[in-house]
Symmetry: C4
Subunit: 185 residues, 4 copies
Amino acid sequence: MGKRAATSQLERLTFFSDAVFAIAITLLVIEVHVPHLDTRDDGAYLQALAALTPSFMGFALSFLTIGALWMAHHRVFGLLDIHHERLLWPNMLLLMVVAFMPFATALMSANPLARVPELFYAGTLLVAGLLQHWLFRRALAPGLVRPGVPPEDIAALRWRSLGLPTAAAIAWIVAWWLPAWNDFL
Amino acid sequence: MGKRAATSQLERLTFFSDAVFAIAITLLVIEVHVPHLDTRDDGAYLQALAALTPSFMGFALSFLTIGALWMAHHRVFGLLDIHHERLLWPNMLLLMVVAFMPFATALMSANPLARVPELFYAGTLLVAGLLQHWLFRRALAPGLVRPGVPPEDIAALRWRSLGLPTAAAIAWIVAWWLPAWNDFL
Amino acid sequence: MGKRAATSQLERLTFFSDAVFAIAITLLVIEVHVPHLDTRDDGAYLQALAALTPSFMGFALSFLTIGALWMAHHRVFGLLDIHHERLLWPNMLLLMVVAFMPFATALMSANPLARVPELFYAGTLLVAGLLQHWLFRRALAPGLVRPGVPPEDIAALRWRSLGLPTAAAIAWIVAWWLPAWNDFL
Amino acid sequence: MGKRAATSQLERLTFFSDAVFAIAITLLVIEVHVPHLDTRDDGAYLQALAALTPSFMGFALSFLTIGALWMAHHRVFGLLDIHHERLLWPNMLLLMVVAFMPFATALMSANPLARVPELFYAGTLLVAGLLQHWLFRRALAPGLVRPGVPPEDIAALRWRSLGLPTAAAIAWIVAWWLPAWNDFL
């Protein structure tokens, strides 16, 4: 496969990934269920909206998480020069977890008092973070990165890719010990 | 990062944004609930469709609003030459509100008699408008715009980006004082 | 706006349109409701699937219709050279009707015995066809088409764009006179 | 149509296909229904999640299947040089079956004890595999492939495209004879 073709294949892989990120991030809203009241009373509506707070928070949290995952993907793939088949599977598995995020989010938002949904959510993030780290290690290996990228930049991106799994692991431990933080809301 | 790479990163940011706009605009239809009648009587169907008027109106209004937001994004980003990290977060927050529009639309359509859903909808538009204005101010700052774009064009786009927040603020005030305009339909 | 920029804007308009077509065509499946039976009896499942025949037919019909609309869009926009603002609104309105197709499809599939849903579906197709005809007339006007495209090709595409509205108008009339053709299935 | 235009049309066909693959793969999660419990009991949540095992397995299986279909599409279309109208319809029909996969998946996941949903799912895969084989035969015919691609590569891709239909046919036969393999889970 010539160089031009490998670049175009990289573009297509990037494009497919962007599309899955964009769809998963936008599907989050589907799980925020619309209340349907038979009244004109303002208070009833405000109460119904207040009851949706866990859903709104879940939407925002997952939107920003998927957004951050996409931005990191954007930064790392922006450094690559050519496509390599070795990226296909780690990327596909990362996308699978991203596509699964709307479920994990809705599970947590629909059951705000319980510990298991929070552990499940944090666990999903942990898997996403580990897959992202694996993908970025492969992507930033010598040979795929564009010539001229300073090695410090590559090292910085590698370190950064430890951020999400670390945060998710901490969230997991916190959720285990402090299950019902939502009670304080 | 070289110039070519920065251009390609801008393309990817644009692409991701386009995808979120396109998905949010198309998801609007999901919230128009399909009536399911057990009759052949034409009148019953016409009545069921007439009862969906608020949903149809909400679909059309939000479609055109998101469409106008996309067109403005399309115009402004069409003037840019390079990618800048400073655009990432304002853009992501704008996309978050765009992705949230199907919820706000459905809330208003499902509760056509009440004031709070209308205020919520107008408030969502207001936030979208303010974020868009913030993003465009950053995007149209010197350094990102392609050389050769006349300054009048840039100024005009900056002014135009005040249109949506102004209209949304007016809609908010009108909804506050004239809550039940839907009653007249 | 320079020529290169106008080409890139055309690409972005094309891209956004493709995304809306792709999302609307894929969302069709959401309205095919999954039966959930509490039995192992093969016959019960076959019966439940047979009862979904109108949904399957609606899915296939609308998939092929949106597919044909996309292919025509693909052909016409493939002849264009530059972007023109005059295309934005007709294109956006066409996309609005395309995005609305999942509703019209589900309305017809969920109410297979009645005439109004069929008229509504045929009417939606008619509007889509007329908007497409309007868009293509504007797009194929002198000035936007790439130099070197034979005038016969342009004339042929203009004629072809009368196909969908004509077919939809015929379907509308047939549905009016022969409402319950589904009875014979 | 000039060579440059034919390349750009191929890109657009590829893009539309990618989008449909990406949407169908991401929509799979919608059919995994979120449990909503009114308890804080960890055991109840674990039980509810365990009951979702068929849905999780269906999600993963279909995600990987659509992912593999996309990767094969990606490989084959990466070898092409120009667009040909002859690819449009086989591609559209393949996309129709891909877009239908969320329904077939949900049917199987929602009815894990029964044979008909498994046969239906395997049958859908079989149709997808046959359409893919047909599309790839047309795409890899002389004239569309980029000059310089070794004939062995083309032959290998043709052989590989027999993999999915073969696997699906075997799954179909297994499901026929061993309907309730899910019982052992």
